[in-house]
Amino acid sequence: MESIKVPSFWERKSTKEIITKIILYIIILAGAFIFMIPFFWMLSTALKGQEEAFQIPPQWIPNPVHWENFSIGWNTLPFWLYLKNTVIIIALSLVGQLLSASLVAFGFSRLQFTGRDILFFIMLSTMMIPYQVTMIPTYILFRYLGWIDTFKPLIVPNYLGGGAFSIFLLRQFFLTIPLEMDDAARIDGCSNFNIYLRIILPLAKPALGTVAIFSFMGHWNDFMGPLIYINSMDKRTVALGLAAFQAETAFRSSAWNLIMAVAFLLMLPCLIIFFFAQRQFIQGVVITGVKG
């Protein structure tokens, strides 16, 4: 009848159906192949010698395999130090974000107070204001406080709300916890803060995990924040380090194999976290996207 490919699972199997399936598989496979090429290409370059990296036609499978590129690239600049800096920033930010976002989300989802819904709406609207709009006065404020070239501008704001995204995600999750649990605890003389601490937080572990993952990704990949606030070389984050490494190496020696090796190492934590926490990951995206 028609040949447009739309969800067809409610149909009976037929020869036409099988042919459609085969065509679908071919399209999906081809697409998946194209999506993977950049990853293959990065890894392949990362494992080549410098001359082979520029060889045409290229070898897809490096021979010989230069495993040492990873350690050479990583140690050309003090990436262990950058990693330490990044981990400090992420760990301290994470604590602030989880604490403050869950407190605020508790207020927005389980307490009644005047102006709550308006404030919640305002909070959602702030999601649409790009960070760069408020960047300059914020920078001036931090400069006035003497915080430039410290980690503080990258950490402290996380303790004040933890971001509209985290609050929204946690609130949506808190709403799914039955209110009867609060009521029961209240009859037992539990204060709201204790309900938050002893009932809601333990139940919300999966959602807190989701927030933690997104927080990690955000800070790991953040470039503009560190770029603006960090000046000293020994305070660089890994993202700043890679940017500097790329700029210097591409200019001086064109050692793209080493650049790709370091870039791959910096993607690795995100990929690993994704593989281990796929469910939390997808849920986070979905909650904010569909239920918003």
Partner: protein
């Protein structure tokens, strides 16, 4: 007047719980927006105190600064190119992934994977991919007899290159569409079938309307995200060649933090704020005619 003591207490408690956000939004959103409005009316190099100069920053911006218009043009073109393509590709892939075929979860992971990585590492990777002579894109193109452009080195091709790169991350939108597709009740399709609807009719009358809020969300977030483009431009092109990839935020960054023209950059920031506001309002207004909300779930 009698004050309801219990209500007062619960108000205080509520505000205590949300106080971290309240403080944060005052210090880091409301305050800076007002402050940057003031700064935009000044000349301020961060070392000497700001001096009030009225609207001359805006005058210069609109009438004497071709780079401002260039930055606006670049960002708009990129948005017009990347956002619709991302919406379409994300949706199409989600439709494919929604088929009940074997091994689909593996494919979902593969399509989503590029959306997991971002930032400098991705920019560096694509800079290498787009190399004119040794980059993989031109090598593959030459295999089918096409002499690839110089991509990042060609003013005409730098934006298409960055748009192609943005499509690699389309998995983020796909996942949202997929969840939306799976949330459509099967009864709606069955009802449509009873009315004699074919595949295409079902797609148009059920799938699209039911998905419109999700498309709407992805549209808004896509527009806002593309206006924030910075890292790619900074790492891959530095705004070149010939300012062909001078994104708005990159231009703002250069004025503010390389030339320390904080007043002028604040004017840029305010114009950006207004542009995003206008865009969002327009999208919201027009959404009434195409976004469908189920009665009970309406916002």
């Amino acid at each position: 007047m009698r004050i309801n003591k219990k209500k007062l207490l619960s108000n205080i408690e509520g505000y205590l719980f949300i106080s971290p956000w309240l403080l944060g939004v005052l210090i880091f959103t409301v305050g800076p927006i007002i402050a940057s409005l003031y700064l935009s009316l000044t000349n301020y190099d961060i070392i000497n105190p700001p001096s009030f100069i009225g609207f001359s920053n805006f005058k210069v911006l609109f009438f004497e600064d071709p780079l401002f218009w260039q930055a606006l043009k670049v960002t708009t073109l990129y948005t017009l190119g990347s956002v619709p393509l991302q919406l379409i590709f994300g949706f199409l892939i989600a439709l494919l992934m929604n088929q009940k075929l074997k091994g689909m979860s593996v494919f979902r992971t593969i399509y989503y994977l590029p959306a997991v990585v971002s930032g400098v590492a991705v920019s560096v990777l694509w800079k290498w991919i787009f190399m004119p002579d040794v980059g993989i894109i031109n090598i593959l193109l030459s295999k089918i007899g096409i002499n690839g452009p110089r991509w990042l080195g060609d003013p005409a091709w730098v934006l298409p290159a960055l748009i192609i790169m943005s499509l690699w991350g389309v998995g983020g939108g796909m996942v949202i569409y997929l969840a939306g597709l799976q949330g459509i009740p099967t009864e709606l399709y069955e009802a449509a079938e009873l009315d004699g609807a074919g595949k295409w009719a079902k797609f148009r009358a059920v799938t699209i309307p039911m998905m419109s809020p999700v498309i709407f969300f992805n549209l808004i977030m896509g527009v806002i995200g593309s206006f924030q483009t910075f890292t790619q431009a900074y790492i891959m092109t530095s705004g070149g060649p010939q300012n062909a990839s001078l994104f708005y935020i990159l231009y703002l960054y250069q004025r503010a933090f390389q030339e320390l023209r904080m007043g002028y950059a604040s004017a840029l920031a305010w114009v950006l704020f207004l542009i995003i506001l206008v865009c969002t309002v327009i999208i919201f207004k027009t959404s009434a005619s195409w976004v469908y909300y189920e009665g009970s779930r309406g916002r």
